[in-house]
Symmetry: C2
Subunit: 225 residues, 2 copies
Amino acid sequence: MERVISIPKPTLERLPLYYRRLLQWREEKVSIVSSADIGKNLGIDSAQVRRDLTYFGAVGRPGIGYKVEELISYLGELLGINNVNEAIIVGVGNLGRAICSYPGFAPYGLSIVAFFDIDPQIVGTKIRGHEVFHVNDLIHIVKRLKIQIGIITVPAREAQKVADQMVAGGIRAIWNFAPTRLHVPEEVIIRSEDLAVGLATLSHYLVREDLSERAEGLDRGISGS
Amino acid sequence: MERVISIPKPTLERLPLYYRRLLQWREEKVSIVSSADIGKNLGIDSAQVRRDLTYFGAVGRPGIGYKVEELISYLGELLGINNVNEAIIVGVGNLGRAICSYPGFAPYGLSIVAFFDIDPQIVGTKIRGHEVFHVNDLIHIVKRLKIQIGIITVPAREAQKVADQMVAGGIRAIWNFAPTRLHVPEEVIIRSEDLAVGLATLSHYLVREDLSERAEGLDRGISGS
DNA sequence: TAGATTGTTAATCGATTAACAATC
DNA sequence: TAGATTGTTAATCGATTAACAATC
């Protein structure tokens, strides 16, 4: 399955961070950076940075560093950013709207070309100049426009149904914001952004800290620090 | 630093998934589940599930499985869900509003008790019955209410300033949705939800697939499958 | 040349999985 | 008891970090 060169997932999640920081450096007219610069800035080991950047072949110069411009287009290529990524979004409540107008996407060439909802109050209205279609038209429209990316921002209980229709329309990657697990054919890529996971882990750390305060008190005599 | 019992991060991100699925089972009147049930449902190895569930001591019965009810309260405790988590949110654009009304949080006891913004058009209005305050009042209000969690949904360039004020007010955990890295004292917990990372990885996989199609063609003679 | 920094190899660290004795 | 499933140990796998020769 995982054929050809395959990048470790953690690396893949760091590349966009490098990319974004590089855009900022370009803005600031910085033309060359070292792996140490990048690492210090993002809190990542410099060896890790070099490692990450060489998965598809080298791009830096020993003794010099990385040309910001070069690295940007290299990473852009790698991340598929240089392409235009056309997507549809299903569910135009607050979350859907927030995603449509999320400024962080600006550099990533995401273009949301059609909006869908099921609420008759919303279907037929316009969002950012685009008409909102009924979900029933999804398969048809997706096929016609050959859309590859589908974004799901509907309630959890609707999500699977929507995913099924996306798959039927030929969508190859689903970005799911509904708090539920989706079942799709294995050739379809799924990425779920599960906000509850974020909240729960944060909340867990708070609890942990409370517990560990006592423990640290007992501990201090032994381990110092 | 990482004192007392410490759970691996990947485990910590799976616990909320278990928790959510268990709530669903309870709803369906299922009273006992096995690690195999949980695993199959979430696409996780059953040994992994057992491992994850024993980091704070055992809860299952050999030969039987796990009592849904017991496991729910066990995980709830672990994740700090049984507490009420009071939070403030800064930035009440679409994303802020989406988070406030995100249904996935329902089980997690998150209570957003104050809203802040800087836009004079918005300050003073009400959201879900709560007045929106000016960011200038943040430190004062956070101190008075002894809030521990701050949610940042402002544009990237404002985020650090907001984080500084949260820290000054005594907030201990920050949930950051702005696409930028925040610098805070090390005792403050930060979790960043970086949507651009999600988008970029998704887009990357699409590109990879396109490339690998060719490669697979060449490959097939050798490795079959 | 001397100093800096890469790309890469080897060593370390941490997480996942397999296997199985203990237990219901 | 026989069958099922846990909790845990040991083996495997994968990612991070340290170290350094090669290169500018």
